[in-house]
Structures are given as C-alpha cells and as structure tokens.
Symmetry: C2
C-alpha cells in the first residue's frame, strides 16, 4: 500500500511548502510534487519550518505542468473550496481518504493559496474533495488543507479495493489525445473556443470511466483502426 502523492499547483509561500512537507511526514506521506511553484523546495523559508519534513522537501520534484505531475497516478482527488460547474462528483474527505487508502496510485491535488485550482486543472481530477468549513471563514490555509487530507488518509481503515485499479494517467491521456487528434484530422472541433471545453469534458468522461490498463489498450487499438481511411468497398455489381 503506497501513500498518495501530494501535488501542489502554483504554491506561492515558502512557509506553506515547508509546513506541507512537515505534516506529510507526520502522517506518512513522502511523495511531494510541485507544478509551477513560485518558490523552490530548498527555499530557506520552507526549510525553516519543515521539521521532520526535510527529506520530503529534498525529494520533492518539480513538473512543467499538471499532466506531467500526474503521469503515473491512477486516481486523482482535487481539493476545492467552491462548487464548480464540472461533471465531477464532489465528496467529503473521509470517503476520499478511505478510497485512496486502497490504491497504489492516488494523488491529492491542491491549488494556489489565493485562487485555488482553475477549471483546466480540476478537469484532470477524477473526484473533487470539499473540506467543509464555516461559511464565515471558508478559506483554509494550504498546509492545513493538506493536513486534513493527510490526517484522514492516515486515520482511514485500509479496505480492499472494490474495483480494479484504473490505468495510470499517462495512458488515459494518451487515449484522449489519440481520440482528439483523430477527430481534428477529420475537421471536428474546428471552433477553437469550443474545442477547449469539449476536450476538457471528453477528458473528464474518459477519466471517470476508470478504465484499466488493458481496457485503455483495447480502446486505443479501436481508435487506431477507426483512424484509417476505410478501403474501397468491393464492387459486387
């Protein structure tokens, strides 16, 4: 059983980075991934508060974009303070943690301090996690949000997986990209503004299906077959 990765997008404050690393270590999480951070993991301000989390901080990897950070992940929970107009289920941290406990490739995703995750990033998740807070004081500090998820994960009883583990993100992305490329070649998605949204919805739908690696391979094979020019039909008359 492998602990979830914590993926931070656009983190601004070094102290938050250090506090995240510390509380991850407290609760047995080790895999910290940074996308487009405004400060480096070896920032002195991060290291000053990382007590016990120095090794997590030192091992943190930085990625050019979210897709790259999620390549080997099989199921992604994104934290969000707001209800979004996205075709994604929204769950409480407790069932999210219980499900993550049963997987080898889970990721918990957190946005920038001020703004949270944008729709394009949320669309890379399978499930949104909403941490309920007082309406008069909604915004959680980033490290506190990580604390809640890490704590819930560590406190969750291990339960055997109820479904086969989905394919890693890179393979799901490959299927989506393959589908989109084939469609573009046929003049589909020709309106660029609509294309972004349509591709995002397609990605959500394919992700949500939870295809296994074998199923993704099967489907890519089908797309490959369909993406050929059909032979002229035999003339019978």
């Amino acid at each position: 059983m492998s602990p979830p990765a914590v993926v931070l997008v656009g983190t601004r404050l070094p102290a938050n980075l250090g506090s995240v690393a510390r509380v991850m270590a407290n609760f047995g999480l080790r895999d910290l991934r940074l996308v487009d951070p405004a400060c480096a993991p070896d920032d002195p301000g991060a290291r000053a508060v990382a007590t016990h989390g120095e090794t997590v901080l030192a091992a943190a990897r930085t990625y050019p974009d979210l897709a790259a950070a999620l390549r080997d992940r099989t199921r992604v929970w994104a934290t969000t303070a707001l209800a979004r107009d996205l075709p994604l289920p929204v769950v409480h941290p407790r069932p999210a943690a219980a499900e993550a406990r049963a997987l080898a490739g889970a990721a918990f995703l957190f946005g920038p301090e001020r703004t949270g995750l944008v729709a394009a990033d949320l669309a890379r998740a399978d499930v949104l996690v909403h941490i309920p807070t007082d309406p008069a004081a909604r915004a959680l500090n980033l490290a506190q949000a990580v604390a809640v998820m890490a704590w819930e994960w560590s406190a969750a009883p291990w339960t055997p997986p109820v479904a086969p583990e989905p394919a890693p993100r890179a393979e799901v992305d490959g299927l989506v990209d393959h589908l989109v490329a084939a469609a573009l070649r046929r003049g589909h998605y020709s309106e660029p503004r609509l294309r972004v949204r349509a591709v995002r919805n397609l990605r959500s739908a394919v992700q949500r299906a939870g295809f296994t690696r074998a199923e993704v391979r099967t489907l890519r094979g089908l797309v490959r077959v369909l993406d050929t020019v059909p032979p002229e039909p035999d003339r019978c008359d």
Copy 2:
C-alpha cells in the same frame, strides 16, 4: 451545542497563535484560551497569519494558570505525543471528537511547542488524546495538532450524550480542595514531596468519576459533615 474551547499552554510562537485562530474559525471553534503565553494574541506575527481568525484572536482570553482556564469546562481532553505514566485513558481523536460533540463544556488542551504538556497539566484532563503520527516524524506543529482536533470535531456526527454532563471543573476542584484541606488539618499528606503526587492522583480519580453538579454538592456536604469534631458520645453507662 457549544463548540469546545481550545486551551493553549505556554505557546511561544506568534505565527502558531495566528494559525490556530485561523483554523479554529475554519472549523467553527471560537473560544481560544491562553495560559502563560510567551506572546500576546495581538502580536503582529499572530495577526498576519490569522486570516478569518482575527475575531477569535481578538476575543482570546489569557489566564494565570490552567485551573482558571478550565473553571467552566465539564470535560477536558489533553493532547500528548507520548504515553505518560498517568491514570488516564488515552483515546484516538475520532472518539474524542464524537464525545466532545455531545457536550456543552468541552475543552481541548495543547502544550508548549517544544515540550508538550507537563504531568501537572495533564492531570487536569479527563482523557489524553494521542494523534497517531509516523514514528520517524512524530512531532506535529501546534497549529496542525489543533487543526486535526478542530477538523475531527467539525466532521463528527452529533450524538446525544450517553451520560449526564459532569460538573464544571471549578466545582470538581472545590471538592478536591475541600477534601485535601480537611485531610491536611488532620495531619494527612504530611510529607510534602508525596503530597503533590497524592493530590494529583486524587484529582484524577475525582475528575474521572464524572460527578454531576448535584453529586458534587452531595459529596461536599458529606465532607463538611466529616470535617467537624465529632461530639462526645453519650455516656450510657
């Protein structure tokens, strides 16, 4: 249903004070009590990180000692990283939060950053709470420990109380003090070094009994009766 008080003993760092206030507000806790703090709640370093928790910080009260901070509390959970040689039950945060949810006079107690609570402070609690952490990274940041307890309280289902609410601490303390004073007048506890430990154990035992206000009154009446010089018996012969 009234949220628990958060009682911080000997807090050193202003940033922790501010972060505690913020996460309390996030999860609906409002009653912050400080015992012997090394920094004031209006320290700029506390206010700088108190986002949403400014009112909690502004309303925080400072007490000369722990007994004074707990006078109106009916049940006290003290967080501790270490197993202690104390006659107190040790529970996981989840059942602690569920029980606190059903009470009007709960308090969660947290010690100084470096050292945690000393035995004399722990003896003022009814129950110890241990937040399980990775053995390689045991020490939680103070605000993260408060975050776990506040989150667990907010996420706990409300359950009706299973036993009558115990008397407030001031009344339990009054009973213990009364008993000890009466015993001292009779030459009991004459060895000062043993007295401290004996009184602490007595306090733990009486606290743990969970006497209601009416029961405490009954018992004090009995102590008052016993604490008089008995009249000479009637001479019958």
